[in-house]
């Protein structure tokens, strides 16, 4: 009885091996085939941005093959990079992003440390609350916030609407909850022996944070910084609602409101602007991809 089954199993297993390796080669070919299709789908818009940005307006309106540049020119880049208005947008975006990243880290790192390590009354509720805040989208809050700031302006005379620095107050609502959340995850993964040793050696809580937690959780800090920067650089709704004068605008809104004049679309310049606006996050991503992905996955996997 047993010998029969062994005899039976022998050849089929061998055959199975052969078919499996053949299956694997085919699976691999199909994988590459579909990956190429998906990569084309993913990269078409950015590549088309680049193609259009190298064309003169004459070539664009001549309606030749849109996928090819016949007379490459840098006039769009020169035009934008010498325009004070565009440089102003870039400058505003850079200042806002840098300040927001700083504010975010200053608020979220100590808070995450306290929530991850120093159990106190209401800390678990607060940690859940932070996560819930992250789920509240900005599209729910922009109208009441707009009215709030208008009222503050009426009462105190501090004009916040249509000033770029209003964004420094608004953006942290988007970045702080998520950064706190992922920092809680990173801090919680540090072994408790480490901070206990520090406390026994006489370190204060603040020293434990700066001397031990921040260096050990440095990858997490980089991931959170990248996230905060990307969010503040890409944010579109708040600047659209809260700033209107051209000298107060940031990149995304600036490009859309000033380069589109009525129904006239100067596509060469718009695509150049869009590409330049997409460049900082893309460059950061190119160099720090692993941190970027770590931050992305940490948010949802480190519950």
């Amino acid at each position: 009885m047993t010998t029969v089954t062994i005899d039976k199993a022998g050849p089929t297993r061998k055959a199975k091996y052969g078919s499996m390796s053949r299956d694997r080669t085919w699976a691999l070919r199909w994988s590459y085939f579909f990956l190429v299709i998906f990569a084309i789908f993913s990269l078409t818009p950015p590549i088309y941005m680049l193609i259009t940005s190298l064309k003169s307006s004459a070539e664009i309106s001549a309606a030749t093959n849109p996928w090819w540049v016949f007379h490459p020119t840098l006039e769009n880049y020169v035009g934008l990079l010498t325009s004070n208005q565009f440089l102003r947008f870039f400058w505003n975006s850079a200042i806002v992003s840098i300040f927001v990243v700083t504010i975010t880290m200053l608020i979220s790192v100590p808070a995450a440390f306290a929530l991850a390590r120093m159990r106190f009354w209401g800390s678990t509720v607060l940690a859940t609350g932070v996560f819930l805040t992250y789920l509240i989208p900005e599209t729910l809050l922009f109208i009441p916030l707009f009215k709030m700031f208008a009222v503050i302006g009426d009462w105190t005379g501090v004009q916040l609407i249509n000033r770029w620095y209003v964004l420094l107050i608004l953006y942290p609502t988007l970045t702080v909850p998520f950064c706190t959340w992922i920092m809680i995850g990173y801090f919680a993964s540090i072994p408790k022996e480490l901070d206990e040793a520090a406390i026994i050696d006489g370190a204060s809580w603040f020293q434990t944070l700066t001397r031990i937690f921040i260096p050990v959780a440095f990858p997490g800090i980089i991931a959170a910084t990248i996230f905060a920067f990307t969010v503040s650089w890409a944010q579109f709704l708040y600047p659209l609602v809260f700033t209107t004068s051209t000298d107060q605008l940031v990149m995304p809104v600036g490009i859309i409101t000033t380069l589109i004049k009525g129904d006239v679309f100067n596509w060469g310049q718009i695509m150049t602007g869009a590409l330049l606006g997409a460049a900082p996050p893309l460059i950061i991503y190119a160099f720090l991809m692993d941190y970027y992905i770590a931050g992305l996955t940490a948010g949802a996997t480190k519950g």
Binding site: F38, P46, I255
Partner: protein, 311 residues
């Protein structure tokens, strides 16, 4: 590892409790902790929780915001045809986009997982580009690809004899376009999440399934999907919230047109509340996002606390 750390910590805490100086420190600890979280608490309280309730208050005022009108803003909305159009479009937009993002992300993650490990980084890097570009910027590129007279897509399709398509001009095509762009932006996020989850499925399970004679479909259905159930659920709910509350893509691509057919809650609230300066009505519109957000949030929270208990 975590358990050991926990136990030793507990033992240390019990030993420490006997000494009174440490008791004092514990008292101080809560003060320090409170001070460390104070900026966070203030930020959330003044700029998230307060405005959320302020929106409720605003929704009960008349247009000049001087008179309490109760629920008449909502009554007014219910009578408007555009409102129901927005409700319908928001649901179509969010549900279709999330389903396709999840499917596409799952498929692409599998293909990336299939190829040899050393090539994966490169492919992952390319496929994540749509997620990295600020959506406002990439939507501009799509707007140009969809341009009524110079559309690069129509140019390409004309070789196959497919007539010019009014991508953003026709009601159905405009709906298709905003969903397509949303899928393009959001699918990489799913891909990354699923890829991380696929890597954490133990190889032995697949080997066991292969020995039992499972084909690839059975392996996905009985091994991969159950192992990834948590991550699929949480990513989908996350994405549902973000997609439902989307603003950039619809605003830039169609601005709600043609004839308000692609408006979703956020863009319509902006049109009414900021462009039309009817803040109370705009606030009422945006409040309609709350129910779906609340439902999704409850599910996510349940999942997180469940995982917290397991750990």
């Amino acid at each position: 590892m975590a358990d050991v750390a926990l136990q030793s910590n507990r033992a240390a805490a019990q030993a420490a409790r006997k000494r009174s100086s440490l008791h004092k420190m514990l008292k101080r600890k809560s003060t320090v902790a409170f001070l460390m979280t104070l900026p966070l608490i203030l930020l959330i309280a003044t700029l998230v929780i307060y405005p959320a309730f302020y929106a409720l208050h605003l929704a009960t005022l008349n247009k000049s915001m001087q008179r309490f009108v109760g629920l008449s803003n909502f009554e007014f909305l219910f009578k408007r045809e555009t409102f129901w159009l927005v409700v319908k479009q928001s649901c179509i937009f969010a549900i279709t986009a999330v389903i396709f993002k999840a499917l596409l992300g799952f498929i692409v993650a599998h293909f990336v997982h299939n190829i040899p490990a050393k090539g994966q980084r490169k492919w992952r890097g390319m496929l994540l580009v749509p997620w990295v570009i600020p959506p406002a910027m990439s939507t501009l590129a799509w707007l140009w690809l969809f341009d009524p007279s110079y559309s690069a897509f129509n140019y390409t399709l004309s070789f196959f004899g497919i007539g010019p398509i009014a991508w953003t001009g026709d009601e159905m095509w405009a709906r298709f376009s905003v969903i397509l762009v949303n899928i393009w932006v959001g699918a990489p996020f799913f891909m990354i999440m699923y890829l991380a989850a696929l890597k954490s499925v133990p190889e032995q399970l697949y080997e066991a399934a292969a020995i039992d004679g499972a084909n690839w479909w059975q392996r996905i259905w009985y091994v991969t999907l159950p192992m990834m159930r948590n991550i699929i659920a949480i990513t989908t709910l996350f994405s549902l919230i973000v997609t439902f509350a989307n603003f950039d893509i619809v605003r830039i691509l169609t601005a709600g047109g043609p004839l308000d057919h692609t408006h979703i809650f956020a863009t319509w609230a902006f049109r009414i509340g900021i462009e039309g300066s009817d803040i109370p009505l705009g606030a009422s519109v945006s409040l309609f996002m709350v129910p779906i957000l609340a439902v999704a949030a409850i599910f996510i929270l349940r999942d997180i606390s469940k995982r917290g208990n397991e750990a």
